[in-house]
């Protein structure tokens, strides 16, 4: 049972518009990011989940210099970052930039493999390398695809690409994790018939049923059927702070939780309460 420390506060994600920009501006200073990471470390957290972006990677690399024992869980591709790149450089321009980073030969080889054998593991390995090449392998415990990409693949019915990513992670000996806003569809397909039990799925799970699609009842029912799998609850506090802990209490199918905060006292309080619940 793991408590993951998230990074939404550093990027101003999921906060009210005004506060979002406030958080985004406040964490422009890398030292402030480091201070919050150290607060989380002091509270006993050792697993750090973060979105790969210009802002985060440098801070986490510095963080592990002084804390080499922590586990890193990078997530990509960051939609806002990719969207801005596409607006600035266009599809072709951004594709060329990525290809340059990955190495044209690797890209050609993996695309060749993809088009000839309809197999995406090599391509996903290259994409993974592009996003996470700077992170030392000893700290790298899992690789996560973020929800915009995962949900796009779900909608397009491209399960083969998700499987390609899982395979790429297995070859790199790290855990594969998927963030999604469509958890039922993903659980039903990925975990059916005992398959892919090594894969983690992370999604909204809160008392108000906020963004638990298609609805809270169905998501909870599906979770129960997949008890024992790696289910991580996030956005727990969308239902209100007090309800969050009560809501996950006795829900044995929730294997781990993910939260982020900028306040040291809040981080300590949350960790203590989650630990008391067995996380």
């Amino acid at each position: 049972m793991t408590i993951f420390f998230g990074d939404n506060q550093f990027l101003g994600v999921n906060h009210s518009g005004g506060r979002s920009n406030e958080y985004f501006a406040a964490y422009a200073d890398k030292n402030k990011v480091l201070r919050t990471l150290n607060d989380a470390l002091d509270s006993g957290i050792s697993d750090f989940s973060f979105t790969v972006s210009d802002r985060t990677v440098g801070a986490y690399l510095e963080f592990i210099k002084t804390n080499p024992e922590v586990n890193l869980h990078p997530c990509f591709p960051y939609a806002q970052f990719v969207n801005n790149k596409l607006t600035q450089k266009g599809t072709l321009g951004y594709s060329l930039e990525l290809a340059k980073k990955a190495g044209f030969l690797s890209i050609l080889k993996s695309l060749n493999h993809y088009f000839l054998f309809k197999e995406s593991t090599e391509l996903m390995k290259v994409i993974t390398t592009v996003f996470t090449s700077e992170i030392p392998s000893k700290n790298l415990k899992s690789l996560s695809l973020l929800n915009v990409f995962v949900d796009l693949l779900i909608g397009a019915g491209r399960w083969d690409i998700l499987i390609g990513f899982i395979q790429a992670c297995r070859e790199l000996e790290v855990e594969a994790n998927f963030y999604t806003m469509n958890p039922t569809r993903l659980m039903e397909t990925l975990w059916a018939n005992g398959r892919n039990a090594d894969v983690r799925i992370t999604f909204n799970f809160n008392q108000k049923g906020f963004r638990m699609n298609p609805n809270q009842d169905i998501v909870m029912e599906t979770c129960k059927r997949f008890e024992g799998h790696k289910i991580t609850a996030m956005s727990l506090f969308s239902g209100g702070d007090n309800q969050a802990f009560k809501f996950v209490e006795n829900k044995s199918y929730i294997e781990s939780v993910l939260f982020g905060s900028s306040s040291k006292s809040r981080i300590i309080n949350n960790v203590n309460k989650f630990r008391a619940l067995g996380f």
Binding site: A25, T87, Q88, G90, V148, G155, M181, N213, P214
Partner: protein, 318 residues
């Protein structure tokens, strides 16, 4: 099975096509660009052709026009004349007279014409509209709409977005004008003042502000897409009257009415969707389009043409 033609396989098509596939529709794409054509064909595994004329367009129940705005008029005209219902990404066209002509043609052909003003389907906007209705008519009030983003900066290459005829006014401003019409059901708006400037673009506005009035209420609009402090597009709407203040940042709505205060968070709104990608509003928008067509209820988006008229007025003023 509903047959849908997507005209334009660029970035916005990645938001729409998965919803269409998830709805069970048969989707085909027209895309002139090689890279986007390869992406659509191999990623979605659907039929993709280079030109509109490569299809017998009359077989389609619906077309989504997702091309740069200056091409909307010609493409839509062709589709409407072939009796195809159209959903056009905003703005409907780059000229008020072209948009009116499209409405006329759609009525004449008895087809529906939808536009992609997706904020109308956002849970916070739906809630705000309900609150405004619930509070009832206000004697005098002013409303401000502000949208900030950071998509055009020194690194941005020139594209249809930064060309004359579009700019921040057509891209973000059109959303703001549409929301004023949608939430407050206002009409006969007169332009009182407007200003704008270029920051990084050489042919289009990067920042503008404008005030419209219906004689009683003042509607203030501001947008800046070169705002360095904006992490992502942010939208703030604020209504002020002597007795009441309502403000939303799209995550929560605060209401002060006759001395009482309350706040509604997005997590308290209904957000369940069958399939989620980017936001509930995208699913709800296409669901509205498909349900309207299934029920054989005609729909002509008059507001979309009014928005283009407002955009033209501001552009003429600035």
């Amino acid at each position: 099975m509903t047959k849908i033609l997507v005209v334009g396989g660029g970035r916005i098509s990645l938001s729409h096509i998965p919803h269409l596939i998830a709805s069970g529709a048969e989707v085909s794409v027209v895309e002139p660009g090689f890279v986007n054509r390869v992406i659509c064909k191999h990623f979605f595994g659907i039929e993709v052709r280079k030109k509109l004329k490569n299809y017998n367009i009359s077989i389609f129940d619906l077309a989504l026009v997702l091309t740069p705005p200056d091409s909307h008029f010609d493409i839509c005209k062709e589709l409407v004349r072939a009796n195809v219902n159209c959903f056009v990404e905003k703005p409907l066209s780059t000229s008020a007279s072209d948009s009116l002509e499209l409405l006329r043609l759609a009525r004449e052909a008895n087809v529906s014409l939808f536009s992609g003003y997706v904020y109308r389907y956002h849970p916070m906007i739906l809630k705000l509209k309900d609150i405004v209705k619930e509070i009832g008519p206000l004697d005098e009030f002013e409303v401000s709409f502000q949208m900030l983003s950071n998509v055009v900066n020194k690194d941005t290459s020139s594209s249809w977005r930064t060309k004359d005829g579009m700019g921040v006014l057509g891209d973000l401003g059109s959303h703001l004008f549409d929301l004023a019409l949608y939430i407050f059901n206002c009409s006969d708006l007169e332009l009182i003042s407007a200003s704008g400037c270029q920051i990084f673009s050489s042919n289009a506005l990067d920042k503008f502000s404008a005030i419209f009035s219906d004689g009683k209420t003042s509607y203030k609009f501001e947008a800046n897409w070169s705002c360095e402090s904006a992490r992502k597009a942010s939208l703030i709407i604020e209504l002020k009257s002597p007795s009441c203040t309502i403000k939303t940042d799209m995550q929560s709505i605060s209401i002060q009415n006759n001395g009482s205060e309350r706040e509604i968070n997005i997590s308290e709104c209904f957000t369940d969707v069958e399939y989620y990608l980017r936001g509930e509003e995208f699913q709800s928008q296409l669901q509205f389009v498909l349900e309207t067509l299934n029920k054989n209820e005609g729909f002509i988006d008059i507001n979309a043409a009014v928005v283009d008229d407002m955009v033209s007025k501001v552009r003429g003023f600035v």
